[in-house]
Symmetry: C2
Subunit: 332 residues, 2 copies
Amino acid sequence: MTVKVTLIPGDGIGPEVSAATQKVITASQAPLEWEVVEAGEACIAKYGTPLPEQVLETIRRNKVAIKGPITTPVGKGFRSVNVSLRQQLQLFANVRHLRNLPNVASKYQDVDIVVVRENTEDLYAGIEHKVGNHAAESIKVITREASERIGRYAFELARREGRKRVTIVHKANIMKLSDGLFLESVRNVARDFPDIECEDRIVDALCMNLVQVPEQFDVLVLPNLYGDIVSDLVAGLVGGLGVAPGANIGEMGAVFEAVHGSAPQIAGQNIANPLAMILSGVEMLKYLGFVKEAQRVEKGIYNVLTHREYITPDLGGMSGTQEMALAIVESM
Amino acid sequence: MTVKVTLIPGDGIGPEVSAATQKVITASQAPLEWEVVEAGEACIAKYGTPLPEQVLETIRRNKVAIKGPITTPVGKGFRSVNVSLRQQLQLFANVRHLRNLPNVASKYQDVDIVVVRENTEDLYAGIEHKVGNHAAESIKVITREASERIGRYAFELARREGRKRVTIVHKANIMKLSDGLFLESVRNVARDFPDIECEDRIVDALCMNLVQVPEQFDVLVLPNLYGDIVSDLVAGLVGGLGVAPGANIGEMGAVFEAVHGSAPQIAGQNIANPLAMILSGVEMLKYLGFVKEAQRVEKGIYNVLTHREYITPDLGGMSGTQEMALAIVESM
Ligand SMILES: CC(C)[C@H](C(=O)O)[C@@H](O)C(=O)O
Ligand SMILES: CC(C)[C@H](C(=O)O)[C@@H](O)C(=O)O
């Protein structure tokens, strides 16, 4: 029996890295069937929105999707497609597995961190108002329900992946009520996981520790905004968004995504690095229970990176996007 | 004519690093007179508050103060002394000069960044409420007045220090009204400084860029919370809070501070690194216009760090706090 997944190629370099990803993930022998749908810039002219209703429908039907980068046009009144997807599908957990890869330039080694970011509330709730012409307020919303839900997700992930420690990140010394509630809620959940160590860290101190001794961290769980900041910071420690997989996970489904931009200036040149999206595909395979298949792809990626013969220019090589994908397929 | 400054030794290692600082700053030949006052833990028993009114009064009178670390006891209902000082004295700019120092361990070189953080509003306004028992809201307040004020401070600093570029940091793609107002206000100010380059960066992307290529940044200007996070992150790039000077500057005065903790576990042992507070003293000298004197101290610090003979254990040496201070005095 095959599993149908939605593929959204996206804008700019999206179609190229998507083609590479489809090739590699298919070669893993996972029994997938792809339903390709369009979202992003091309949809605006056709449907008046970058995220047409039928896209949401196919994801709701297939329950699993993978997407390339989508550009949200600035100042035209559209909400971020990424944020809309997360909120409309209630994809409450934003998860990034960030680790150093062979021959990917970084000042750090042995970073292996999972960032688990709450994806539905906090300052992303979108509640803002002007106060006269010279002031504005944004409201940070924290609920026990969402905090416990993301806390439970983080601890379950830690247990499932054989990880040792979860660090709760907050600024409860200043936001005693909101971040205090987040901290308290996740701590309550932690009691159900006596096998996993639980600690907490204030967000400013965490960021200092991350740039000094990132090896000490394992799983981080954070409210939405700190999660946004810290997941990019940690991506920077392992080589940047070009090698960072992303996943948005909810009760009814999951959307995997390359979190980098659509890089229109290099689109169509077959030079974009496809790793972020391929690695997102690996996360998708694991999510679907295709563990053997995921490991095959990982082996291919490690081999190609180790030999450095078929890598894209940003990684120091001279291969094209599709050639790198092909090399991964051949060294699986 | 001498200038009177308030000295608050603070808690834990505070008295030791303060003594070292007083020694070094006095040896710079700046015509200072010190008024030493107590704040912090010791005051709670005596006055029922870690920040007695007379401390605020001496600072208001002298207009310039320097303080060691002060511990705010957790869960006893006291507000952070640091935050109270900033808000009560309207010290609207929190400024950190962060640069690599010789032989201070770091993965980075050539970092030379000034972080200019708005110090009075944002989520630090302290406006929070519970919404039932299972939710809470915190209010992020951004005003044009405070944003323009910090923007102007950043550009004036850039001009005064011969710096080339100011980067405005925000998340206006999500918080269109509040961060949008911050961005717009600082951009308005930038028009008065055609000699200084102005760019902006989204906070998550900034943090990734900072851990990858920090040398590209010069002056950063940020709202309070991002400023809190980013100033610790950048401190981490140059060796941590133990070598990071801090300054809080307002219209009516300034408070210079070591931003590290009071480290009670090593208090009284003469092993604490006094550099953060001495460097804060250097910033104080510059603020007072004693530039020659500040340069003398800087020369002493660079010499001592370069020769590595008289440095504290955390820097890889075997000297005590006071011995290091003495060595700085002798190599000025
Ligand atoms: C594009 C932007 C709205 C988004 C966010 O802030 O969540 C991005 O930074 C991310 O982390 O996926
Ligand atoms: C101690 C704490 C309240 C303070 C802050 O959050 O501002 C500290 O982190 C700082 O940066 O000086």
